[in-house]
Amino acid sequence: MSAETFPVEAGHIMAFARAVGDFNPVYHDAKAAASTEVGGIIAPPTFVQASAQYDPDYPLRPRPGMTWFGSGRTPSGLISESSASEKSESSGGGGGGTGLHAEQHYEYHRPLRAGEVLSVSTRAGESWEKQGRRGGLLQFREAITEYRGQDGELVVTARSVGVRTGQTVKEA
């Protein structure tokens, strides 16, 4: 699942650019951005990742009526209070191993501008397995996401590779 539409808002771009430590005015100052080559506020290169905000089923955001796996009264919402005093046996939040982001690749077809509403479609790519050096058996899964503009034209193509590890990854 992913977002179907992604409204690209100036305030969201500003907050995202701040979070990656990028204070380039082209991401927050409409007046300054107007005098640049791109002529207005654009989104930084990795911004489309934030389309997760518009995915109604995004699992890494607490959702109403769903148990969140982060800490509250107990170290994990998935551990009941009665068993919380015992040491947790599970390693990794979603049960078993840990899902991590292995690769991310973008193709930019044109600048992405504040005010656009993108349509988003994601399809599965390849999947493969590898014996890991640090994390046991590694299962890789690729996803390709196309972000299209108002006229259906491609704006950004994203290819991500996720990896599920058999155990918690040890520090390098």
Partner: protein
Amino acid sequence: MALSSKDLSVGDVHESLVVDNLTRTQIVQYAGASGDYNPIHTDEVFATQVAGYPSVFAHGMLTMGMTARMLTDYVGDGRLTKFGGRFTSQVWPGDTLTATATVTSVEQGGGAPIANFDVVTTNQSGVVVFSGAATARLD
């Protein structure tokens, strides 16, 4: 603002300090902006007691986003045509990261000239945390 093909040669290096002493607050800030609230990044109790890590650690995409800043400051706004790579090691609170682009080719092509870059981000111990490549349109 953008780079000119006349000024670029294969092997040219551009380097930038992209974060000095990464804070847990910046990681949380990235979680809020990106929407990825995975508690391995945002929740020290969960990260240490449940997931078994020494602390929370940064989203790979935060490292990539900080690395992108080095690139766009170098090649100009809206000039990247490709950017990608692998997350090769975790980034922890307190880390200091340096991102480096090295010109691997400059192509004159039919239309606008383009440059290809190797992109590497390392931590304060010299460990590579992100390794990839980028392509940009030049003047």
